[in-house]
Amino acid sequence: MRDKQCTAEEVAAELRDGMTLGIGGWGSRRKPMALVRAILRSPVKNLRVVSYGGPDVGLLCAAGKVRELVFGFVTLDSIPYDPLFRKAREQEGLAVREWDEGMFYAGLQAAAQRLPFLPIRAGLGSDVPRNDPALRTVRSPYGDGEELLAVPALELDVALVHLNRADKHGNARYLGPDPYFDDLFCLAAKKRFVSCERLVSTAELAEGAPQTLLCNRTMVDGVVEIPRGAHFTSCAPDYGRDEKFQRAYADAPQNGLLSRLVSGSEQDYQAVVQEVS
């Protein structure tokens, strides 16, 4: 079996201008933040980002990397709205497709099943379709004739997820309370990269409940071992969210940290962690 270990820089180098990038995790939880920082430092631009958004979205927007965002929400959990995303959204130039979370799920599911769309009732009767005129409806071809919302497949060029443990072949396990939709992001993408807290042998990875083996090697193209790779988002049970750092992140537009967080080196970032946390 292939050894798929690589570096964060190699993952970022897989991205091309204009690509659709899916990012796993949920809000400010188990986000592949070290991989996101590698993208901040890379020359790539005009990304279409698909995320149940947290500070991954805020940072990429603040760095001017995002042309279009498809999202169900962008939140820091303990801070309801990401201020960096707010700033980007209030400016011209960021195209948004703000969907209901169930629609977002259906879009990933359609891509994972290699279908161009899936029908769903979520979103109907709301302003979501009015604010996203590219959405369409489909009519049931049966006697009920019901009209349903058609959610286009969210086909991803690249998916990034962060998990607690992985082996070098791309099998990976979560240890926290929630898988989020990381497996679905991988199934919906052409190239899939997992960062992990700790790289372990396949034998060690296999110990424990089988249902927490979220990703298997057929769904993963590259593995990067990055301890604290989700910092400052949570990565239960390895660590919780770094709330002090998150506060400093949210205040970054005012406290002078913004440029160090958005365009600094990895050493700059780690220095800020030392100063703040």
Partner: protein
Amino acid sequence: MAMLLRLDEAIAELVGDGDVVALEGFTHLIPVAAGHEIIRARRRDLTLCRMTPDIVYDQLIGAGCARKLVFSWGGNPGVGSLHRFRDAVQHDWPVPLEIEEHSHAGMANRYVAGASGLPFAVLRGYLGTDLPAQTPNIKTIECPFTGERLAAVPALNPDVGIVHAQRADRAGNVQLWGITGVQKETVLASARSLVTVEEIVDELEPVPGAIVLPGWAVTAVAHVPGGSHPSYAQGYSERDNTAYQQWDPIGRDRERFTEWLRASVFEEAGA
């Protein structure tokens, strides 16, 4: 909370003449004992649904319980044809049987749509086959974004869904594991449901890969150890391959079948 009933009470209460009934379980956990109870209860004009009708459906059809079969494959796995099914289609014996044939993926998608409360499902399937010409409810739907033509199948929402599982607790929460097929979707798609179980326990210990059907999603649970024989229940029993082989000569012959019904189903009542 699901009712805990005896199997005969559950079938009497849940299954009526003319109902659409699905007994699911793919090679594993097939609710055979519940099928036999439907025969004993002499239900008639049922529309029987099942992805893979095998010998329990051969028996139900031969006993005259069914008016229609909705399915995607029929046979005695590893042995051969279903001769009671064949006799009903070819010779209307003991009663005529209408058939509605789908693909496996189509049937699975129909249960998923039914469980999801959607009127239909979309899939890449049926293309290049004669099934749409034989089965009028296989339709096409156009993707409103790409213009691509895809297959559509209508949601399947049985009146009664019946499955077999390893265990339940006293509140009727059900736990099953191993090959779990479309059992969850069948129960969630059905107006009423019955789960026969190997064991009723005080507490459901977690099992890797298990599905839990909460008691509020299940109408009734019946304690029927061995209720999936001659199929198997992982962790409880092995598949009885000999029984499948022995079915072939019985199913081939109307007289032998009628004798089998009398001795093995009707005289088993109350056993």
